[in-house]
Symmetry: C2
């Protein structure tokens, strides 16, 4: 059964493993496209333009803001990040669901832009102890900085309450399978199912 | 992740293949219980009391109605059919999701009894031609009776619009897989997920 395509917004606290999950989802789910974010920050070694980010100049980014091309955008440490509208509209018109990797403010803007056409998923760590252990093992922060970082993650986790689904990232495979089930189920929602005997004359 | 258990209501037009789907679901989905309907109609050969139906006397059924034991009930061709409350409450308290096989009026009553704790699925034939072919091949109806039956099915299909999900029954395996995905996804809904770091002091 065909369906009216929708947007899948994935968020998680820092270090939640979103990127790995996203890449795996794109491999296993049919008719799913990834909405690549645009940024003004310099490309890092190994990053591919148009895949990891759309790398643009500050001037171009500001022009996009002015033209209304960005569904949402933010400035982080002097660099701009945002979600271009055109590729998303193109994917939807091709009947593809669109995966977006956003923080909570981006999620709110995209939901406002596409009422009734978004599904939001918050990825959670198995528990707080696991996060603490991972951070200590990584050894990049300690003492006060570690405490600060843990507090930040706890604060970010509060946003979970405004998402539709909660997925615990205990193992990559399980987390991916859960999101696959969510996408499959959402494609069967009565308000987007294109079942010909009951839907006459609908265009999207 | 544990979740607050919920009710899964399945409906379909006559001859939609609900019973086969239900039996398969109970085999493949963990922590799922079936709410057996009660009836006053005589037991048919091969039917098992407590599995196919709870077979009760007319007196007992009327007593249950009076005591408020039935979440919904109806009289069809002189026999009573209904949904007892006690087993459902027991399953829920055991943390099991409960599968119910209901027609549209039963669905409405159960949704009223359990606000926010139901998920409704309407099973649809691949198309109207398939149904017509199946009925003709079965040969139990023809001419005017066949036309009447087809009209009834079309009328029943209109109820699909008040269900949460639409599942096309093209093959048993695909239909079952789709419902499995729906149940898995619904278990991850933020408003029923029991994720300890974010839910303190909740009892169900």
């Amino acid at each position: 059964m065909r369906h009216r395509p929708f947007l899948i917004i994935i968020s998680s606290p820092s270090g939640g493993g979103k990127t790995t999950i996203r890449n795996r989802l794109l491999q296993v789910v049919e008719n799913l496209a990834y909405s690549v974010s645009a940024t003004t920050r310099p490309k890092r070694p190994g990053e591919i333009d148009g895949k990891d980010y759309i790398f643009v100049s500050r001037d171009k980014f500001l022009k996009w803001i002015e033209e209304g091309e960005l569904l949402e955008w933010a400035e982080v440490y002097g660099n701009f990040y945002g979600t271009p509208k055109t590729p998303i509209l193109r994917y939807l018109s091709q009947g593809k669901d669109v995966l977006l990797d956003l923080e909570v403010n981006g999620k709110r803007s995209v939901e406002f832009a596409f009422p009734g056409r978004t599904v939001s998923i918050f990825i959670l760590p198995p528990d707080l102890e696991t996060i603490k252990k991972r951070l200590i093992e990584r050894g990049t922060e300690s003492g006060e900085a570690l405490q600060k970082r843990l507090q930040l993650i706890q604060d970010e986790m509060e946003h979970a309450f405004e998402y539709d689904y909660w997925v615990v990232n205990d193992t990559l495979e399980q987390a991916v399978n859960r999101i696959v089930a969510i996408i499959e189920a959402e494609r069967l929602k009565a308000d987007r199912a294109l079942y010909a005997p009951l839907r006459k004359g609908l265009t999207i």
